[in-house]
């Protein structure tokens, strides 16, 4: 056992509790629960995912969403994993990777997945935040291997049948990517998963909270732009000596 900073432990716990509280307010009879597993150290890391609490190996389990059918009920599964670290100051939790896979229970291959990996674009031109659909269409398979350029060329040389699920559709980059509430909304609205009374309000609340956090990060990326917009809207914005003026506007252009 390591001696973790109690502040970090509390943040990890709050993060998992927030996810559990939100999911419980949206979906009926939800099991399993999100647990944060923390590896302490100079740069602590943690993974948050649903597990059965009586499983000592903490094998990840999908959230099971029930849907009432015309003839029989069915179940959807949502695999959710968030891989986090703390920022340089050790005060803010940062999501480094996340995966949400939605599928039909009993079938391991998901229908679609939303993923984020902020390091993905380092070695490729793939979007950090992306959407992948598990389906097939002949024309897409052809286009995915028809050229010697870029990814079609790589796929062709790999000598394997291309899958539509290998296409990474960009979904807003680091700041404007979808959140868990968006995926739950699709499951409920498009696929008929049962929800609790008042779920829409909870989803809106969660989405607003997520976007507030992302907006703060976007402002930190472009403080001068933020000040300019406030000034244009009648605010008196002045810079103090300690103000951070270093812009990270390159982030706005990143895929």
């Amino acid at each position: 056992m390591t001696g973790i900073d109690p502040g970090l432990e509390k943040k990890a716990e709050e993060f998992a509790d927030t996810l559990n509280e939100r999911v419980k307010r949206v979906l009926p009879d939800i099991q399993p629960l999100f647990v944060a597993q923390v590896l302490d150290g100079r740069k602590p890391s943690l993974v948050v995912a649903p597990v059965q609490l009586d499983d000592e190996d903490r094998q990840f389990q999908p959230l099971v969403l029930k849907a009432e059918g015309r003839q029989r009920d069915t179940k959807l599964t949502l695999r959710a994993m968030l891989w986090c670290c703390f920022d340089v100051s050790g005060t803010h939790l940062t999501i480094e990777k996340s995966e949400y896979h939605l599928g039909l229970a009993g079938v391991a291959d998901p229908l679609f997945r939303y993923e984020y990996d902020r390091n993905l674009r380092r070695n490729s031109h793939l979007p950090a935040a992306h959407f992948q659909i598990h389906a097939h269409r002949d024309e897409a398979a052809w286009l995915m291997v028809h050229s010697d350029e870029a990814r079609p060329g790589k796929r062709w040389r790999r000598d394997r049948v291309p899958r539509l699920s290998e296409l990474h559709f960009p979904v807003g980059g680091d700041r404007y990517r979808p959140c868990l509430e968006d995926i739950l909304t699709i499951a409920i609205n498009e696929l008929g998963a049962k929800m609790k009374r008042g779920a829409w309000a909870v989803l809106e609340e969660g989405r607003a909270e997520w976007r507030r956090i992302q907006l703060k990060s976007a402002v930190r990326d472009a403080p001068l732009l933020a000040a300019e917009v406030l000034s244009e809207n009648g605010w008196d914005v002045s810079r103090t000596d300690g103000a951070v003026i270093q812009e990270r506007t390159h982030r706005l252009g990143e895929i």
Binding site: N20, F34, D40, K43, S45, L46, D57, Q59, K97, A108
Partner: protein
């Protein structure tokens, strides 16, 4: 109140990884191959994802044991 956070050491994670592979009756490379071929069962998928996470945590913490 349900405990939703657990603090682990590298040794805990390594043991857990080993037990998960035993549970899958497979080696890590078997699981990786089956994942690439989209041929994992639901249970194997859970084990595969858990081990990926363990490996991610372990790889980030090479500077401390």
């Amino acid at each position: 109140m349900t405990v939703t956070v657990e603090i682990l050491s590298r040794a805990d994670l390594r043991k857990r990884r080993q037990r998960l592979l035993e549970r899958a009756h497979a080696t890590w490379s078997d699981l990786e191959e089956r994942a690439a071929a989209q041929a994992l069962t639901e249970n194997e998928r859970g084990i595969y994802d858990t081990i990926r996470s363990i490996d991610w945590m372990l790889s980030r913490r090479r500077d401390r044991d």
